[in-house]
Amino acid sequence: MIALLIRDMRLAFRAGGGFGLGLAFFLILAVLVPLGVGPDRTTLALIAPGILWVGALLACLLSLDRIFALDYEDGSLDLLATAPVPLEGVVSIKALAHWLTTGVPLVLVSPVLGLLLSLPVPAYGWLLLSLMLGTPALSVIGTFGAALTVGLKRGGLLLSLLVLPLYIPTLVFGAEVVSRGAQGLAVGTPLALLAGITAGAVALLPFASAYVIRINLR
């Protein structure tokens, strides 16, 4: 399983793996929003938590179809499905690899983008914490969506239609943590709910994803 993790991460980092695309997209979004909304600092500070969370969500979405598509095309997914490692484990590892190559970099650059959007100072810690807690859920839910659409020729658009509604609870609680943090309010409740969604998704969705992949490989 560790070998699989290393393999997936190598594939993501190398040329054509799409690493950095999500980051670049996140950066472009943070540049485009002030250009569209205007440079007024108070307005930007007000919408920054939401923009950063929506940006992280969309950047995550970009690399989802890579999780299974290439393995499905060259047949490695069939091998993985018949391997002694349970398919649920394979799916979890792939989600973990996706998180390490997409989610974690997004978390790490988010404070810089917060600076661009003049996010209020007390919110930075909450931004990092909420993204750190929330992005695993994004990866796991996205892996489920990728598993659903793996057999389709042009599943990309369908994938976003399926996955984005599933991201709503994570987005609501994540953005709520940051905007409450920015106003200096108590963040305990949304933070706990966000952690709860992540824990539930990480624990249960790999079973659904593995089930769906078995259907698609039939």
Partner: protein, 243 residues
């Protein structure tokens, strides 16, 4: 021994719905017409909302059926996943567009009602938001069905999507509750004592609800029959090619 599962046999299902569907369809039209005419022309105006209150006779039944349709799809998906009855999967497929249209009717009548009452067509109220999200789930479900050629794979994938989607739809409902306080009134009907709706409104409203339920049933039965016929046709064409 007769049991509910007999109707999982497509032939038996077709034979039963042959005579059941016309009855349900006629009953749906008659009861809905009675309910709507009663509601629109034979109820008093509300002392504050005037005649706009009468949109409740479309709004509430449509909203109710929008949610019930999803619940029915959930049950049908479970039956398909557990017992592999094709009729069940096809019924879930037939219910989705009806549910989506009910959701749109609920949203549109809500907007028309909200304009004079709240002074706005749309507000990011938790109930409204949750309904819009439900509509997105319907769209995803329908798109998933139409994207897959193999009917059994499609049935399996959409059934799992329906199960996972249900969990997230409920989560979204509570997330929306948490996210914003609403303009929307509480439940229109409640068994709790002290309900605020008078029987003059409740009676036609219940009639409309039964009518909308029957409309849904008639459309789902018709849709399922169409799906079964389409499948049979495909099988016949395939057999013809083999020969």
């Amino acid at each position: 021994m007769s049991s509910l599962w007999e109707y999982a046999n497509p032939l038996k299902f077709m034979r039963t719905t042959d005579w059941l569907l016309p009855i349900v369809a006629v009953a749906a039209v008659v009861i809905t017409t009675i309910g709507l005419v009663w509601g629109f022309f034979f109820t008093p105006d509300d002392f504050r909302q005037g005649s706009t209150v009468k949109i409740v006779f479309i709004h509430v039944p449509a909203a109710m059926m929008a949610i019930n349709a999803w619940v029915m799809m959930l049950v049908a998906s479970l039956v398909w996943l557990i017992r592999r009855h094709h009729v069940s999967a096809l019924a879930a497929r037939a219910a989705a567009p009806v549910g989506a249209v009910m959701t749109v009717i609920g949203l549109i009548t809500g907007a028309v009602w909200g304009q004079p009452m709240w002074g706005t067509w749309w507000a990011w109220d938790p109930r409204l938001t949750a309904f819009l999200i439900l509509f997105l789930f319907y769209l995803g479900y329908i798109a998933m069905w139409s994207a897959i050629d193999d009917p059994d794979t499609g049935a399996d994938l959409t059934a799992v999507l329906c199960l996972v989607g249900s969990v997230f739809a409920v989560l979204s409902r509570y997330a929306a509750n948490f996210w914003n306080q609403g303009l929307h009134q509480g439940a229109s009907l409640s068994v709790a004592p002290g309900t605020r709706m008078d029987w003059a409104y409740k009676a036609p409203l219940y009639t409309c609800m039964v009518g909308f339920g029957l409309i849904f049933l008639a459309l789902v039965l018709a849709g399922t029959r169409t799906e079964i016929r389409a499948r049979r046709m495909k099988a016949l064409v395939a057999r013809e090619r083999m020969a």
